[in-house]
């Protein structure tokens, strides 16, 4: 395997791992539930894509032909991550979870707590 190809695959794998780590780090660090929701929704999705592209390139090189089946997981994640973050936010609103005191627009959120 030539060096430039290893370099590209390493870039995708390391980038993917770094963004997944960042998503989990945000989960621990951010102050309240609604801000914590941002980290896994965005960073973990991009991290998985990086890993999947790296795995796709490597397995295609090893088998000598393009096998794009890793893209199935990527497309699946693109479709499902927003849905699970939406329903998590909705159930958090329903449970009247606390938000940070400096959060603006609290009255608007309160109106959504009871209708669902």
């Amino acid at each position: 395997m030539p060096f430039w190809f290893e370099l590209i695959v390493s870039f995708f794998l390391l980038g993917g791992g770094a963004f997944i780590l960042l998503g989990s780090f945000g989960l621990v660090r951010l102050p309240d539930f609604y801000t914590r929701l941002h980290a896994p929704t965005k960073a973990t999705t991009l991290g998985m894509w990086g890993l999947l592209v790296g795995a796709l390139l490597l397995s295609s090189w090893n088998s000598g032909m393009l096998n794009p089946h890793h893209l199935l997981i990527a497309v699946f994640l693109l479709l499902t991550t927003p849905v699970s973050s939406y329903i998590l936010a909705k159930s958090a609103l329903h449970h009247r979870l606390d938000w940070g005191t400096q959060t603006r627009g609290q009255e608007q959120a309160k109106r959504y707590m009871d209708d669902h």
Partner: protein, 162 residues
């Protein structure tokens, strides 16, 4: 009279997913996949409720690339906000009035908003006329709403023609 191929796009998608899962183009799998792709839409058609379909496929593809690019930008932004030594966030709830009405376009818009910079969609009002967002670092509410309406909602209205 029902036709044999009620949902051609769904059938094609099912066949492609079947072949990808099995990683093959062998004739046996092509045959089995085609039979499944014909049968499954016929059996599940009664469960569907009608939704507006994509009228402009090329614009939909361009929209997909726009969203992918925005996901990259969103991640850079979230990374920058989270890796600061002291957290300086301006979280806020924002309500966006919706111009599009049907379920499927609203779902696409809400998913786009969840994946793009700084915003997560939290709830839709009971009459489907407003969308509640949570913003991680809000600068200007009116500007954010205008951006969402111009960048995403206007394009979705063109794609679905609604």
């Amino acid at each position: 009279m029902r036709t044999w191929l009620p949902l051609p796009h769904t059938s094609l998608l099912l066949l492609v997913v079947w072949l990808l899962l099995n990683q093959t183009l062998a004739p046996g799998h092509l045959l089995l996949g085609s039979v499944l792709a014909l049968l499954i839409p016929l059996l599940t058609m009664r469960l569907r409720n009608p939704q507006p379909s994509i009228k402009r496929p090329i614009k939909a593809l361009l929209y997909l690339f726009l969203v992918l690019w925005d996901i990259l930008v969103a991640n850079m932004q979230v990374a920058r906000l989270m890796l600061r030594p002291r957290l300086q966030l301006r979280p806020a709830f924002v309500e966006v009035p919706l111009d599009i009405t049907q379920g499927f376009p609203i779902t696409v818009l809400a998913s786009t908003i969840s994946l793009t910079p700084g915003t997560v969609s939290a709830d839709v009002s009971a009459d489907q006329s407003r969308l509640l967002l949570h913003v991680l670092d809000l600068e200007d509410e009116a500007q954010l709403i205008a951006t969402i309406k111009r960048r995403y909602e206007a394009r979705l209205r063109e794609i679905f023609e609604c």
